[in-house]
Each structure stands twice: as structure tokens, then as C-alpha cells.
């Protein structure tokens, strides 16, 4: 097409003085967790020191994760365990915490939520004071109860779907029944189709369960987690954030980097997790405008690359 210039903006490998300049310009640093500061139960080498030094330099640090399997207090324990000192609960924003915040503060839910999710989500909802329909209730075990005639709670005004290792057809059928009422809210914790585990293995993610429910109900879920803006708005509602002075560091182009773009933040891709440099280049070289938003401004091998600039 004549006149079209393929932007080669983005994917700049950060080195030395550039890192110092970037950090000088930013007051807030948002970190994804899995694949950025830790992998499973192992901290990324240098990550605890980077976080510590950023705070010593007066930066504000936040952790923004789509992983909804733990409540915030468990995350605090994990941070401790992995050598990150003085990470406060208030700095941690998981999709479970933000889903509960959304229901309480944005939707102002008057009623119960039917949850397809795990312990982490349940705990955050409980802490936020959002009433949840009891699962595995005695009614489900009554003889004759099946997917064809399961009892419904009339107080349900929202359905929340996320990662659930106890997902069953019955839960899918029930959630679908609740969603027939167009007034019933439909939320998903995050869109991730799979989650990485140790050793390059993967396990089905919230996105796959959400896809099943969207297909069953012919409705689209409101997604709380990255790349949706809500988690950023959740942080911004509690802390005063200037997007121009904020930096997002992540490992997944379609969630972390797109999230950063959507919120007007500068973005750094680290190569210690899911996405590769080749994938970043493919987005950069693509013609499609929406793919451009997945292109990171900067790339580092690991967050440890920030150490030298911080230690000076």
C-alpha cells in the first residue's frame, strides 16, 4: 500500500544509561509476577534486590497479576518466602482481589455472586464482604438432582468465572441458567487461555473456562484482569498514579504489554517468562493496528538488568 510506513518503533533493548534515564522518568513501577519476578517457587535472580532498590530510590512499586489462585495475604507470604522484603499487601493487585473490588465498588452488587473459581477468589470475595452462593450444598446431593434440573438461588445477581480445578459440567449448566437473566452480571477474572507451570509445562487457564460459558450463554464476559484496564483503575483509585510516570514490566505480550498500552504506560518486556523476542518482532512488523499495541517499548533479558543502574 503506497504511503504506509511500517513503524519500527518499539522493542528497544535497554542497556546501561538508558535504564537509568527511564527510571529517572518514572515514579511508579508495575510488575507482573509469574515469569517476571519469580517462576513457580523460585525468585528470578536479582529480582528481590531490584524491588528493594526501587523502593529505596523513592519509587512506588505495585504487583499486578492475573493469577487468581491466592488471596493477597498468601501472596505476602510468598514474597517473604522468596526473599522479597517488605512487600505490603496494599501493593499487591491480583485479579481475584480486583474482581471482588469490582463487584463491591463498581457494580455495587445487591445480591449474591455465583462463582466458578478457586479458594483465592472465594477468600477475596469474603474479605470484601460480597456474598457468595454456597457451592456443594446439600441440595446438589439430593437424589434426582442432575444437570437437567439443578436448584437455583433467586438472590444471584452476578456470575464470576475464573480458574477452577473443580470445574464440572454441572457448574457450567448452573452458571448458564443464571446468565439467562440479562440483568445478571457476567465477569471473568482473567482471559489467560493457559498458565505456565515449572519446566515449560502448561495447565488450562481461566480463559478456557470463560470460553465455555460465553459459548453456552451467548454472552461476553466483562474481563477484570489484564489486558483490560480495570486492574490499573483499581490501583489508581487507591493511589495517585500518573500514567506518563508509570512503567509496566511483564513477560506476556498479549496481557502485560497490551495492558500497559491500554493504560497509557511505558512497557518493558522481560524474557524470563512466556513471550519471546521473535514474537515481539512479529507484532512489531505486523500490518494490523491492534497488533501494534502488543509491541513493548523496551526489552530486557531479565529484571536483573535494572540492577546495575540502580546500584550506581
Amino acid at each position: 500500500m503506497a504511503g504506509t510506513v511500517t513503524s519500527s518503533r518499539g522493542c528497544v533493548t535497554l542497556r546501561g544509561a538508558q535504564i537509568r534515564d527511564l527510571l529517572d522518568a518514572k515514579h511508579n513501577v508495575l510488575f507482573d509476577c509469574d515469569g517476571v519476578i519469580w517462576n513457580g517457587e523460585t525468585a528470578v535472580t536479582g529480582a528481590p534486590e531490584v524491588v528493594s532498590l526501587l523502593k529505596q530510590r523513592g519509587k512506588r512499586v505495585f504487583f499486578v497479576t492475573n493469577n487468581c489462585t491466592r488471596p493477597r495475604e498468601n501472596y505476602v507470604q510468598k514474597f517473604c518466602r522468596l526473599g522479597f522484603t517488605d512487600v505490603a499487601e496494599e501493593e499487591i493487585f491480583s485479579s481475584a482481589y480486583c474482581s471482588a473490588a469490582y463487584l463491591r465498588d463498581v457494580a455495587r452488587l445487591q445480591g449474591k455472586v455465583y462463582v466458578i473459581g478457586c479458594g483465592g477468589v472465594m477468600k477475596e470475595l469474603q474479605d470484601a464482604g460480597v456474598p457468595v452462593v454456597e457451592e456443594d450444598s446439600a441440595a446438589d446431593r439430593e437424589p434426582g438432582t442432575s444437570i437437567y434440573n439443578c436448584p437455583l438461588d433467586p438472590d444471584v445477581k452476578a456470575v464470576l468465572v475464573g480458574y477452577d480445578e473443580n470445574f464440572t459440567f454441572m457448574k457450567l449448566a448452573k452458571a448458564c441458567c443464571y446468565l439467562r437473566n440479562s440483568e445478571c452480571l457476567f465477569l471473568a477474572t482473567d482471559p489467560d487461555p493457559w498458565h505456565p507451570l515449572r519446566g515449560g509445562r502448561i495447565t488450562p487457564g481461566s480463559g478456557s473456562l470463560t470460553a465455555a460459558l460465553e459459548t453456552a450463554s451467548s454472552r461476553k464476559a466483562t474481563v477484570i484482569g489484564k489486558p483490560s484496564r480495570f486492574m490499573y483503575e483499581c490501583i489508581a483509585s487507591q493511589f495517585d498514579l500518573d500514567p506518563a510516570r508509570s512503567l509496566m514490566i511483564g513477560d506476556r505480550l498479549e496481557t502485560d504489554i497490551l495492558f500497559g498500552s491500554n493504560c497509557g504506560l511505558s512497557t518493558v518486556l522481560t524474557l524470563t517468562g512466556v513471550s519471546t523476542l521473535e514474537e515481539a518482532h512479529r507484532y512489531r512488523d505486523s500490518e494490523a493496528p491492534e497488533q501494534k499495541d502488543c509491541v513493548p517499548d523496551y526489552v530486557v533479558e531479565s529484571v536483573a538488568d535494572f540492577l546495575q543502574a540502580l546500584e550506581e
Partner: protein
């Protein structure tokens, strides 16, 4: 493209239409029965067609019954039918894996006992049918023991669908050489009494999303359903009539295979939807316009009995 389409089938047109075909293919749910009840007049229509020398076939996306189970249901409802006239996706998926995929190995099956039986009948061994609850911790799931002989994953309707099954399917599908087949993409499974539950399409979407792969789909509107019948019974598409209640499966299949198509209004789709498709500029939607429509297939009975 026919100049006139989406025409109400009058008695005169019925006689003309029936004279122009040798075989009639019927969808089941919403066409000849609804749940456990025959559509009034439907058994008489099928039986009269046969008396008039027409061949009759039953083509359904429902994967929960074997051909024999369908034949039993047909018999109970007063239809004169045999198992070899029935083409459900349990049977057709087994044929697809055997003849199209040329599968030599086992299949990881998310599906019913009916699907298991149809697979075993063609010599394919399925693994995984039945309840499969979660156990252990997260890292265990990525390391579930995989059967090395599994060369394909097949997804059909499964009321025992669970996270563990989704996980196992994902682990198998991480191998790009493992084939990925789905029975159909219908989002709802109709039940007795007009109720419905989430359909196979939902389960398939879950697996496709986790694996970031697209399944080969056997059921309507895929041509395979017609080819399966045609190859066994030597059918001439131009002398075949497809009767269905869904524009996006039955009528689409008919259009794609060059069959004449008849929409019956006892099921899902409406005339308004068909006419909207007809007026649209979109070639895809144009394939979802029937040649004719009737309120119920009982409407062709007078022409048959004349």
C-alpha cells in the same frame, strides 16, 4: 443460485419436489421429534416416503446415542427405520477418525459411552470415558501420565466434563502430531420437555482455547456428514432433499453439498431469519437460505398420500 428461494411449500410444489428426489435426509431434534415426543404426523411422513420408494436417512449432530440406540428410539416413536439409516456424530466421528484421519492408535475421548461403543466397533480404542475428578496439586496436572499410544483427542458431549479432562486433553494436544477432532459445535443440547443444557460446542471451545488449536469438526454443517451417507448408499446430491430446522447447520450442509433444502419451523430457525439471510449481500449467509419451508413436515403428508 435459484432465482426463487425460501418459498412456502404448497401441495402442488410438494408433489413436484418429491418427484425430483430419490432420498430424503432428516435432521432429528426439532424436525421429527422434540425430546421424547414425535412431531405429530412425522412417523406417517417417513413411513409414507418409504412406501413411495424413497430412501430415508437420519442425520443428527447429537453424539449421545449409537446408531442402534437411535433406531430403538425411532422404533418406539412409530418410525419405520433401521440402524444403518442413522448417521449420528458418535458413529460419524468414529468413521472420520478411521477413514479420514487414518488413525492408528488410541484416542483420548471426552464423550459418552455411546461414542466409546462406536469407536470400539471400528477398532479404535478410546481412553478417558467417565468421571475424572481432580487430585493432587497443580504441578501434578501438567505431569499426568499420558498414554503413548494416543494419537488423537476427540471431544463430544460429556456430562462428566471436568477441569481434569480439559487438562488431559491439553497435555495430549501440546504434541502437534496429535489430531484434534470435535463432534459438533452446537451450543445447546436439547432435552425432553423443551429444556436445554450447554452443548458440545461449549466443551470444544474450552479445549480449543486452552490448546490454542482448532478442532476438525465432523458434524453439520461439515460436508463429512453427507459424504458419510453418500459413500455408503451411492447418493446423487441432485436427487437428495435435506430437511432440517436450523439454517446454520442443516440448510448450510444442504447448500454446501448441492442438495435441495427444506426448512421446517418446528425447531430453532424462523422464516424471518431465512429471509434476512436471503436479503443480505454476504455469500456465507446466502448459503443459509432454504429452497422451501413448511410449518411442520406433516404438511407434506397430503402430497404423499395422494
Amino acid at each position: 443460485m435459484a432465482a426463487s428461494k425460501c418459498t412456502r411449500l404448497s401441495s402442488a410444489l410438494s408433489r413436484q419436489l418429491l418427484d425430483s428426489v430419490d432420498s430424503v435426509l432428516f435432521d432429528c431434534d426439532g424436525v421429527i421429534w422434540r425430546g421424547d415426543q414425535a412431531v405429530p404426523g412425522a412417523p406417517e411422513v417417513i413411513n409414507s416416503l418409504k412406501k413411495n420408494g424413497k430412501r430415508v436417512f437420519f442425520v443428527t449432530n447429537n453424539s449421545t446415542k449409537t446408531r442402534q440406540m437411535y433406531a430403538d428410539k425411532l422404533g418406539k416413536l412409530g418410525f419405520d427405520a433401521t440402524a444403518d439409516e442413522v448417521f449420528g456424530t458418535a458413529y460419524c466421528s468414529a468413521m472420520y477418525l478411521k477413514n479420514e484421519c487414518k488413525l492408528e492408535g488410541k484416542v483420548y475421548l471426552i464423550g459418552s459411552n455411546a461414542m466409546r461403543q462406536e469407536l470400539e466397533e471400528v477398532g479404535i480404542q478410546p481412553v478417558g470415558v467417565g468421571p475424572d475428578p481432580i487430585s493432587g496439586v497443580q504441578i501434578d496436572w501438567a505431569n499426568v501420565p499420558l498414554d503413548k499410544e494416543v494419537q488423537a483427542v476427540l471431544v463430544g458431549f460429556d456430562e462428566h466434563f471436568s477441569y481434569m479432562k480439559l487438562n488431559r486433553a491439553l497435555q495430549y494436544l501440546c504434541n502437534p502430531d496429535c489430531q484434534f477432532v470435535g463432534t459438533n459445535t452446537d451450543t445447546r443440547l436439547p432435552l425432553e420437555g423443551g429444556k436445554a443444557v450447554p452443548g458440545t460446542g461449549c466443551l470444544l471451545r474450552a479445549v480449543e482455547t486452552a490448546a490454542q488449536r482448532q478442532a476438525q469438526v465432523v458434524g453439520k454443517p461439515s460436508n463429512f456428514m453427507f459424504e458419510c451417507v453418500a459413500s455408503q448408499f451411492d447418493l446423487d446430491p441432485q436427487r437428495c432433499l435435506m430437511v432440517g430446522d436450523r439454517l446454520d447447520t442443516d440448510i448450510m450442509l444442504g447448500s454446501n453439498c448441492g442438495l435441495k433444502t427444506l426448512l421446517t419451523l418446528t425447531g430453532v430457525s424462523t422464516v424471518a431469519e431465512a429471509e434476512a439471510n436471503q436479503k443480505s449481500e454476504c455469500p456465507h449467509r446466502q448459503k443459509m437460505v432454504p429452497d422451501y419451508y413448511v410449518d411442520s413436515i406433516a404438511d407434506i403428508l397430503p402430497a404423499l398420500q395422494a
